[in-house]
Structures are given as C-alpha cells and as structure tokens.
Symmetry: C2
Subunit: 531 residues, 2 copies
C-alpha cells in the first residue's frame, strides 16, 4: 500500500514513458482523485458535493399521482398509530386530523399540507465549516453504514463491534473525500452499556471528525443528551438557528410510530435539528409486496412523521427517508439491492422531490451477501446507481454495509469508497467546450496514430480520470506472482494505511473538557443497562 500512495514510475507500456518524460515540465496538479486528496497537505478535502447531470425520472405524472393518491387513501382509511404519545396525538388533533385512541387519520391532502412548512433545502453544519453540507437541490451527501452489531475484516474475521471499531469507522469516514457526513451508529459499540452508548458515539463524532453527524434516537432522553453535547461544541445560540446534526426516526412500519421514536423526533424538531423520517418496509411483510404499494406506504408514513416535526416546530429541517427492501418470498431471506427495491428507490426520489423536502434514499451500497464478494458488489453497485441517478440527496449505507446490515466490513468499506468516488465523479458529467474535443490533437496525430504524446493528452492526463484507491490487479501473470489477491484482499492494506495516517481535527481544550465532564456526569447518573 505504502508505495501505491506515491506517484508511480512510468511503466513503459503504450508509449507512456514518452508521456511521463514530456510531462516532467508540467507543473504538478491537484487532482480530484482520492489518492491525491490524501497527499494534499490539509487532512480534510471533500469531493464534489453536487450533481451536474440530470436526475433520472422513472415515473411519469400519472404514475406519481396514482401513488400519491394511494398514500392519501392509506392515511384516510387506515391511518397511522402513535403508541403512547399523547403530545403527538394532541398536535395532530389540533391540526385537523381525526384521532381515535392511538389512531390518526387524515383527509386527503392534509398530511401533505402539514409538510408545507418544511424547507426544501438547508445546511447541516460541520464543526469545520469546510465540511458543512447542504441537503436539497442538486447536492449529494454520502454517509457510512448505520446500525451494525458486528464488524468484520479479513484478518480477524467477524466479531461483535466495539467502541474501538466505532472510532475506526468514524476516522475512516473523516479521512475519505467521498463521504460527506460522519453518520450515526456506524456500528454498535457493544462493549458499552446500551443506555450510555449514545454518549460515547456522539463524543466520537464530535472529536474524531469535523463532519456533520447523527445523534441518539433510542429514547427522548438520549436524543436530548446528544443535542446537549453538540451545544457544548457549537453553542446553544448557533444551534437555535442552525442544524448541526440529524436524528434518524425509524417508523415501526406498517403505520406505527412508537413513543420512543416519536418522542425523539419531537426532541430534535423542538431543538431545530434535522429530523429524518425513515419508514422501514420489507415488501410483503410490513406492507403489500408490490413496488407501487411500498412507495405509497413509505410516502404516507414519511409525510406523517414530517408533519409531526412541522407541528412541533414549523420550518424545522426534515428529510424524507426510507428503508425498504424485498425478501425471498419462498425462503423468507431478506434481500437487498434487488431490482424491485431499486425501482422503489428511484420512485421515492421523485416522490420526495415533489413533496418539496430533501430525500434520504433507501438505497446506498446495500447487500445481503455474507462476504465482500461479487454478489456484495453487484447488489451494492446497482442499488447505488438507483440511488444516485434518481436524484436522492442523502445516502445512508454508502460504505461498509454487509450481510443485510448486520456487519460493517472494513474491506467492503474501502471497496465502497472507491465506488462512491466513481459515482461522484460520474455525477459531474463531462464538458463539451472546445478544449474537451482536443481538435489540436487531431492536427498532431492523424488516422492510425497514437494520441498518447499529443499536447492535448499532456495537458490533461494528470487529471483526466478518476482513479480508485484499491491497487489494480495488474496483468494476470503479475497478479498471480503477487499472490492472486482478489479485490477485497487488496483493500486490506488501504484501511490499515488510512488508520495509520489518521490525524484528529483540532479541538479547543476547554470544549473537550466540557464534553468529557458532561459525559462523566451523565454516566454516573444511571446504572449500566445491557439490553
């Protein structure tokens, strides 16, 4: 790996020796490739964050309207339950919904109208302003995986995740130019008591990274702790007007919000921090099995969660999220990256844009594969295309996710990063200006001639192509001589090198002491809970 991080000598094939010799008079350039970013002096340089190519429109107006009508039908006829959350029920009743016991029903159009105060676009501030991202518009925000109880790497195998693993993935995410956001529960630190994990996780995001992050959501009190910690860094006044963090509110699909989640939602909304509402539907189990039905139910559940956030605090930043997939209806196995769920992913990007809020895609680099093998990357790559081509704004699970989310894989993390870079580069499209056509090259090299030594090639070869970080296999014979390492094995050196190179972003000593003291007090205030 070490050698691969430095410029490589000319290989002598295809006339490249001439190209490199001629290029020695050219000034060095900063390229947009991952490797080059890591060579740059500043430790944090973030890749392009906007798409320049158009979003793919899977569905036409008639299909979109039909799905929106079905979402309204669900909310009018079946409704949504808020279990044990009287405050939420009162807010909905006051807003014109029909509330009976825990069930809330909405006249057609009401839920959508209640979402209207949500901003179409807003910033999520990083501790380093250079890492502030925008959600909405043409912006794209990629994040690591979320929620895995296990981790794996090819040297030590699959094991329960620990706080050390959590730290490692926060560091790797911080170092990657292709991830714009530190994520949330990048893996479960299972060696920390359940009721205290959120404190260590938020501390890690705040100290080991300077990118935006997600806080705890597993109870309203943990949500409040997360916000209080962030206020020690960003200041309560700043956070009153600016979002620096997100809470991911999973719906207990079908059509249920339990008070843990709706309570956490209200805490984030009241604090003007970003609420991402993520209906969680396995087609056929938590809803009907057809893509149209999953899209409609996701929209229905998402609108209700967003409406609650807006009722708590009109104008607070929200994201229309989703987590949906399919299952093998014969074996019962959950499947990820399937063609049916990719269709739903593409439809939801459109539906979310029509709702007028940023979209967190249910796609990302997801798979049910047990190893970072061909299936893993086939599933992940397809799901990522569906996600990014359809115009999603935010992507959970863009790196590391394996085994249906049970595992964060160190090697797959690196393999996924390479593809994040490729996709972000692709989203930049290409130019069609005069220089992009290289007319002078045709005046130098005619039919049958080699363009490698043309001046046009020399002007652009250093920055022309995205280059992944995982070393090339090389010709077959070289590959065999080097041990016949498949791509996941070649990835091992990358994450080790990144962790070895990691440098934490600077933090004021007083701020750090305040964080430490807050956590010490909170931990001391309650006994450990392990479930």
């Amino acid at each position: 790996m070490q050698a691969k991080l430095r410029p490589e000598p000319p290989s002598g094939t295809l006339g490249l020796e001439n190209l490199h010799a001629a290029a020695q008079t050219e000034p060095p350039r900063v390229t947009r490739r991952g490797r080059a970013f890591r060579q740059a002096q500043a430790p944090v340089v973030v890749s392009p964050r906007k798409r320049k190519i158009p979003a793919y429109a899977l569905l036409g107006e008639a299909a979109l309207s039909a799905i929106e009508d079905q979402a309204d039908w669900i909310l009018q006829n079946t409704g949504v339950e808020f279990l044990g959350d009287k405050t939420a029920l009162e807010l909905f009743a006051a807003a014109g919904a029909t509330v009976r016991q825990d069930r809330v029903k909405f006249e057609p159009g009401l839920a959508r109208r209640l979402c209207a105060t949500a901003p179409a676009r807003f910033q999520l501030h990083g501790r380093d302003p250079a890492n502030t991202v925008t959600l909405g518009g043409r912006n794209v925000v990629l994040m690591p995986g979320y929620g895995s109880p296990f981790v794996s790497d090819l040297q030590t195998g699959r094991r329960y995740a620990t706080l050390k693993d959590f730290h490692n993935f926060v560091k790797l995410t911080f170092m990657s130019p292709w991830l714009h956001h530190s994520g949330g529960t990048v893996c479960e630190p299972t060696d920390v008591p359940v009721n205290k994990r959120h404190l260590d996780m938020v501390l890690a995001h705040l100290t080991l990274s300077s990118k935006p992050f997600m806080g705890g959501v597993t109870s309203p009190a943990r949500a409040q702790d997360s916000i209080d910690l962030a206020r020690l860094v960003f200041g309560a006044r700043f956070m009153e007007k600016n979002a620096v963090m997100q809470g991911n509110i999973n719906v207990n699909s079908p059509l249920v919000f339990d008070d843990t989640m709706s309570g956490a939602l209200r805490v984030y909304a009241a604090a003007n921090q970003c609420v991402c509402v993520s209906p969680s539907i396995f087609a056929g189990a938590m809803g009907p099995l057809s893509p149209a039905a999953v899209a409609a139910q996701t929209l229905a559940e998402g609108m209700v969660g967003i409406a609650l956030a807006q009722l708590v605090r009109p104008g607070c930043p929200v994201v229309f999220g989703s987590f949906h997939s399919t299952m093998n209806l014969k074996s019962g196995a959950l499947t990820f990256g399937s063609c049916e769920s990719n269709l739903v992913t593409m439809a939801l990007s459109q539906l979310g844009r029509r709702l007028g809020v940023p979209v967190r895609s249910g796609g990302g680099q997801i798979t049910a594969a047990t190893a970072p093998d061909g299936q893993a990357m086939q599933d992940s790559t397809g799901a990522m295309w569906a996600t990014l081509l359809s115009g999603a704004h935010q992507v959970w699970h863009a790196a590391g996710w394996l085994e249906g989310g049970l595992v964060m894989s160190y090697e797959k993390f690196i393999m996924d990063l390479d593809h994040c870079g490729a996709m972000m580069t692709m989203l930049q499209g290409f130019g069609t200006e005069s220089e992009d056509f290289g007319r002078d090259a045709y005046q130098e090299a005619g039919p049958g001639q080699n363009f490698l030594s043309t001046r046009h090639t020399l002007r652009h070869f250093a920055t022309a192509n995205y280059q992944p970080d995982i070393p090339e296999a090389g010709p077959f014979e070289t590959w065999v001589e080097n041990g016949g390492q498949t791509s996941e094995r070649r990835a091992t050196g990358c994450w080790k090198q990144m962790l070895a190179d990691y440098q934490p972003p600077p933090m004021d000593g007083t701020v750090r002491a305040n964080l430490t003291e807050f956590i010490k007090d909170r931990k001391a205030s309650m006994p450990d809970e392990w479930y």
Copy 2:
C-alpha cells in the same frame, strides 16, 4: 444445485409457513424468473425483450449538437482512411466525399445523410422464430462476451479456450432466458486453425442454438463462408430480404478501416445481413482522452462505416456500435467500467438514437479484474446500468467477460446472467393499477400487523420478485457450515447443472448434412493456418 432448482420448502421464518400453507390451494404459476423458465417444459423461453421504463437522457440538446458538430469537424478536416479498399473509396467518391489516396473527407452533414437509408428498426431472425429479436425501438438484445482467447473456471483454472469451451458457452447462452442472441466469437477456439475457426463457430451457432448469431469477419472470404452456411439453413431467398446474422466490423481506430474489415463489411451489406460498425477507442491512445472527444470520434467513425454499408446496399440493416474504454494514464493499464467510460456509453446511446439506427452499446458487463470478485462485479454492474438505462438496443459482453476481455469465465457468466435477469426485470418497471396497491391488504392487516398472510400477498407471492439462480448465502452461521462459499463458488454448480441439462434444438437431417459437407469441403480446400 439440484435441490435449488426445485421449489423450496417453507423455512419457518417471518410467518412464511402460513403463507405456504395457505398457498397450497392456489394453482401453480409460471413465473418470469430464470429458475422457473428452466423448469418449464419448452427448453427455450426467452425473457422480456423490451424496456418499459424510459431511457435516461444524460445530455441536453446543446451538448449533443456540440458532439455532432465535432464529428463533422473530424470528418471534414481529418477524414478517415480506407486502407487498400478501392471499391470503398470509389463508392465514397461517387457519393460526393473528397478522396485523396486512401483518405476520405466529408463535408459537414454528408456522412449523416448517407446513413439516412438505414432502417431505424429491423428483425434479426432466429432459427426458431420464437427467438427472433427486433433491434431498435424499445427492444433490448443481450449477448455473451466476444473474442476471449482464454477461459477460466474455478476448478480447472485459466487456460486457452478450445472448441469445446466455445460449444459450452453457446449451449449456456442458448439455455439462458436472459440472453437473446447467441453472440459471435464467444471465445476463441484456439485448437482449430485460424483460417477454419469461423466454420466451426458458425456451425455451433446454427446447430447448438436457435438464437440469432454473428458470423466471421476476419476476412471477406470468411464472411462469405458464414453467410453461405446460414443460407443452407435459412435459404438464400429468405436471407435476401431478412437478416439472420450480424457481422461485427471493428474500426481500426483512430479513423482507419483496413480492407479486411471494410471488405467483410461489404460482404455482409451486399447480402442484406446486419452490419454492426464498432469504433474501438481507448481514450487517450486511439483518440483524445476526454469523454466528449471519444463520443464524437466514435460517432464520426460509426457514421462512415454505416454510410459505406448503405452505399453498398441502401436500406441494409446496420447497428451503430462502439467499443471504448479508459486507461490508467499513469500505469498504462486498460480499465473497464470506469465512470468516464460509463458517461461515454450513456452519451452514445443518445447519439445513436438521433442518428436513427439501433445502438450496440460499448458497455455491457465489462471489467479489467482478473477474478470474478468484488471489483469485477462493481465494474460490470455499473457499466450495465449505464448501458441499459441509457437505452442501448444491443449489448455485447453481457455475460462472462473478465480480465479486459482476455477471459470468458464460467462463473462470471452465471453471475452476470443473474444480473441480466435483474436488469431486464427492472426495465419492466412496475404497475400502478388498483391491484398494485393492495388496498384489500390494508383492510386485512392494519398498523403493526404482518402482511405475509394477506390475500394480496397470497395472490402474488409466487410471481412477485425476480429470483437469481445463484443460491443465497443464507444466514452467516449456515453459510459457514456450508463451507463459506463466496458467490462465484456458489455459481460453479449452476453452469455445470445447465450443461448437464442441455438439450439441442431440433434440426432437419438434410440441413445438418449439408452444413457438414460444406464445412468439410471448405476445410479441405485450404491448408491449416495457425496465425
């Protein structure tokens, strides 16, 4: 494998036992899945062949026009060389092009006008009419890899391809519902003399399969042999008006047609068989390195080849092909499935549609990886999305391609087929009719309840989801117990089972004897050549 080809018993998870018990009263259905197709009585059932979802438009009018203008600029200022093909030069001169020595130049717009007689859409007839495909419009035709001198499988490793391997891949292609076309040189039968290979290859396509195919192109005489063999099966009169085969004419990019290729082109065009013109550009070597330049040069070279076919026989069926990729401009290694080449792939689908002819994509499931690993499938999957979402009509290299085309891999062939099925299923989109929303299911299962046993699920579970052929890994513990086989290892059983199950399509005994005699005579007429 054997067991996996039969319906599986209920697994007992997630309430599936109820679903299966309840479903026993339902009649069996034929599904659209690969596995089910193979269970069906008829050996050849072909998957959907049309897209129902829209094609993605990467570029707007201004960018497309700029690229088309650049193609015209190349043809006006640099021109194209036809080496040693006086007939071609005379045809172009008579059509108004400027010819000096071997170089042909075109006034802006002339090449495009000469392409105007090409049909936008035509049929390519299979020996079995059920396997006839249409090129153009919303049709999609997938084919196996082309041209590999090596094959590999996980049991015997990487080795030179033989005629037996060629037969195997023709059989596997014939059996797959997801490949619509038998391909051409699916691998090089290196144990047959170079000057006689085309005879054995065409014989295999004509006898072991009943899907359309490609004939020899490595000399005009071999092209003529291929056509003569097909005439013994389809009849000369039928072929005078109908295409049953294609010749793939690779341009010697940059901007050169040698007389081998232009000669073969003229043979296919004169016989009214389909000519696919495939410029072959590695960005930076056979043309400038920028995507816009590669797209423009591909268009320029493609138009010239198509124009020649139309001058030989106006109205003859043609395809605008391409073979383009990128290289690591530091190491010189060729790269496939890169983000830059995916952009070119998407642009060329648009440019070809504007030219008004079917498009053979330069994408497909391509990779430079040396093994059917994560990199292989990441590259291949991304390239396939670019290819199919952008609306290409015909896809070479949809299965098996490895190591930059040096190798046809038996396992990757199966892995790619699974993805072909997923993509073809995805191209069908989804419905938004009443039944697709499952309203009755919400009346059975309310908030918090399981939809697995609803009548809507029972009506649709057997046909709801595409199911790949490679066995699922299963839960981690089961996977470990089963030997921890990564997906390529699980694919081995699939291709072996398919070859064991292969049944040749019927053929009239006289026809077969005529083919055999023709080949015997042709082989006897020339000494073996091994280079």
